[in-house]
Symmetry: C2
Subunit: 550 residues, 2 copies
């Protein structure tokens, strides 16, 4: 996936603004047959794609200030400006793409052999290497699994803008199916119940409490009789209460199989006490209320790495993969990077006018950098979360045919926490389910301590408690514990909630000629939208500064 | 689409069990080249597809009794049994398919020139004829619109089972987008608000009332201190209340554009008084709580009429289109039907051993039938609802690019009531929106009184109140008022709620050798699942009876 720098004809050496045969500046590769210099092509690309993308992206942000900040005219004049980008994840790729569109020269430094960072789609044959294990994905042709980001909310206009730019087809990512299950030892002795049941019952009980809250309080609520009557109607409808304001079950939690040829029957409601004592009461009623998880969620057809491919197919600057950054020095004239070729062990120095540092902050502990004390404090304060995923290829899509579940999420109080049913390939022969995933570092640590084989077994054992057909249907599987992936050593890098505001602002202002990017410097850690918007902000800052001659 | 009976070689005349050259019974057409008689082929088809389908369908119903009822072995012996099916909508087609699979001879009588009934997908060139108007659909190639049924819930296992049988690809029908709008004159002076706002605010206010309902009621609620504390936590989380149990707005109704590079900001909540006085308070909080509207909803890729095509491509019996049923007589030996060829005006009589009547009951007023008094009472008691739809082809998908809306429904207090954004073709060039649709007969009557041109204008005027780009983007459109479509004269035929139980049971028992089908004789009027399950029930009744020699 990554173009090795050696195959790029040693352009790194010429990165610092050397003149080329065609009179242009920069690496100056003549493109076969077109007669266009690289720079001329860049300008064309910029005008045709890059600027439009930048424009669409910033236009869609509803952040007028940012849009005004970003100069839309490419650099002119004799001197070209170079930017070294550290980390070829989504932020680095996005920055490279937009900087090139603006006429900058770009070099991408990536310590792994892949582009995309956590945006990683595995297919049959993909290798996953952790510190102490290696797995080879055994999926059948056509099946895939997104190890990292897997969903795009409709308001993540930057990500969706690039999907439009790169003509990446989108389909719905089903983030909730009311047919999916909730399983909690506290509810009905651990027997899985449909999400529609939990949702209907919680609404019913809360509405019943609300009806009590209205009783005798018309004056306090400032309502006249008519309004009070409407409010009572609203509350009754909300919870499906009886005329006596009691909740005794709802056909919204319909007993499946009823309601077509015969009247719909409600299942007995779950006892309020059971709901209160379960870990799961909130999931079906809260999860998709969060704007970043609310319908409509989308996914690229064929895998999230279509976005990586979109950038990778357009970025012209050199990508130096398997190269670690060991040292960062910067002053008023530029940035000097000490690099280590991981394969050969060779060391080299790279100079650039500016730098965008999108390396996970926790990994800066092993980098000798000269960032200012306030920036260092922010970097050192960041936590690397340890999220994981387990995926299983199933021999049939039994969840569709037998349970009527088309996409969506089953929630469990076991360590698997979630089962995601695939949103693609409905009613096809096979499918890959996400068999375990959560955002709890303690639970993650338990999965991390297992070998890949043990993880699959654990996922099957806990999944069987919901779908007895799990063991018979599971054909193969893979897992990732991001904390054990050498170039990342974590998944979702974030400050404590109380620190986000001050550290985010501090770090985003940059340090001399270095700017910072990645979802880590946004209020949306773990989301590509945060990575891209942070990258655009850094691009905007550099571009503004260069143009103003600072 | 419909095979004219004349092109079927006059098989109707031989419908009543005549012997054929090949020694088999029935219409006995030799299929070119295969050497298989029609009957032999039926048996093959039955074994390969039909039975499997029946089995899968009934197995999935979770209605063991029904499954046991249906004989799975084809008819044997010399005598073939004929069934006349009145109405080639989904119920009629489904019954024909399954009866043929069981070895019956089938003739389908359809008064229109189309198969599928209300399952009707229009594309460029489709003609829509109402009593007093005719429209020709002007959609660009590739665009389509489902005039009738447009969504399939995950638990409608019969419909989904046939999609599997016919290998019809499915995709998600987005039935709710929290990015879509609600527009009500009572809320913020008619300024559209995002659905996420209405949903978050209603939950907030109800939770606030519930918190009041808990206060001081621990004993009454039967909770100990620990449980009371958990319940308070549940209620606060449910509504996003502050520690003082007050609702003052939620970032679940996030101000869009915040929450990525900066902290998320909540919009000011809508006043409780405004919500109470609006017509729309319930929509975002109730609609998708109903099991038949809850996620995951599905649609066939390319149009709902793929299901019609699936049946039509398999049914072998004659289909007599443009033929009206004028008279129905039945006794212990069979059924006699008086038919009128609508094109030629020719009258004829058809005899069959059994009949499945799937004609909308309100249309029986113009049929001279001899059904028993109790059945006649039920038939006469049914109401024809008058639903309509309006669709507009838009020159760009501005709702996606400008508003972040990918599928889902905007709700309005104007007569348009709903705007559905297409669930297919995300980010493609154009799209067809459902521009008006409701289930209110009074509102429907207003649309019905307009010419097709006036309907489009009304849809644009009311749609502009939500999307100012409506007029500029609308390229063409079509509409249907089902009450004015000659062969149906309504959409959704149903009894009053109080009558459903008794009438449904009464009619489904059949009348002599006549059985009744259609969503009208189910508890799910307006849904294909009701149509199909009623058809399977009728097939089962006939098959059981024939086998038992009754």
């Amino acid at each position: 996936m990554v173009s090795d720098s050696s195959r790029r004809g040693g352009q790194i050496a010429g990165f610092e603004n050397t003149a080329n045969e065609d009179g242009s500046n920069g690496p100056g590769r003549i493109l076969g047959g077109t007669g266009l210099s690289r720079r001329q092509l860049l300008l064309l690309v910029g005008q045709a794609g890059g600027f439009a993308a930048v424009n669409a992206v910033f236009g869609a942000l509803t952040r007028g200030a940012a849009a005004a900040e970003l100069p839309m005219v490419p650099l002119e004049g004799a001197r070209r400006v170079s930017v070294a980008i550290l980390g070829a994840g989504i932020a680095g790729l996005c920055a490279a793409y937009e900087l090139e569109a603006l006429g900058f020269d770009v070099v991408l430094i990536e310590s792994s052999s892949r582009l995309g960072g956590r945006n990683w789609t595995v297919r049959g044959g993909t290798e996953i290497r952790e510190f102490d294990s290696s797995q080879r994905c055994g999926f059948d042709p056509g099946l895939y699994f997104n190890l990292g980001p897997a969903r795009i909310p409709g308001h993540h206009s930057t990500v969706l803008g690039y999907c439009r730019t790169f003509a990446i087809p989108l389909e719905v990512k089903v983030n909730e199916s009311r047919m999916a299950f909730c399983r909690d030892a506290a509810i009905r002795g651990g027997r899985p119940v449909r999400e529609m049941q939990v949702a209907a019952d919680i609404r019913g009980y809360i509405a019943e409490l609300a009806a009590k809250g209205i009783a005798g309080r018309s004056a306090e609520l400032g309502l006249n009789d008519d309004e009070r009557e409407r409010l009572v109607g609203l509350v009754r409808a909300f919870g499906d209460l009886g005329d006596d304001d009691r909740f005794t079950g709802s056909i919204r939690a319909r007993r499946l199989g009823t309601g077509v040829l015969d009247a719909a029957l409600a299942d007995e409601p779950i006892e309020l006490g059971e709901l209160i004592n379960s870990k799961l009461w909130q999931v079906p009623t809260l999860f998709t209320e969060m704007p970043d998880q609310a319908a409509t969620m989308l996914q690229p057809v064929g895998g999230m790495d279509r976005i990586v491919a979109g950038f990778a197919g357009t970025v012209r600057g050199p990508v130096r993969s398997r190269v670690a950054v060991e040292r960062i020095r910067h002053d008023e004239s530029g940035v000097e990077l000490g690099l280590l070729e991981l394969c050969s062990g060779a060391r080299s120095t790279l100079h650039a006018d500016y730098c965008i540092d999108a390396i996970p902050f926790p990994l800066h502990r092993r980098i000798d950098h000269d960032y200012s004390a306030p920036v260092r404090e922010a970097i050192d304060a960041m936590t690397a979360h340890r999220f994981f995923k387990v995926a299983l290829q199933m021999g049939s899509r039994f969840w569709e045919e037998r349970y009527g579940i088309y996409g969506g999420i089953t929630w469990s109080d076991d360590d698997i926490t979630q089962i995601w049913y695939p949103s693609e390939g409905f009613q096809s022969a096979k499918g890959v389910v996400l068999a375990a995933y959560c955002w709890n570092d303690e639970v993650s640590a338990r999965w991390e301590g297992l070998s890949p084989t043990e993880r699959l077994e654990k996922a099957v054992v806990e999944g069987e408690r919901i779908h007895p057909e799990y063991r018979a249907e599971a054909e193969n599987g893979i897992s990732i514990s991001w904390a054990k992936v050498p170039n990342l050593q974590g998944c979702t890098f974030a400050w404590a909630d109380d620190d986000v505001d001050r550290f985010c602002d501090r770090v985003r202002a940059g340090d001399g000629r270095v700017y910072f990017a990645g979802d880590q410097v946004s209020h949306l850690p773990g989301w590509q939208e945060g990575a891209m918007q942070s990258a655009l902000r850094a691009v905007s800052a550099i571009s503004t500064r260069v143009r103003s001659g600072a």
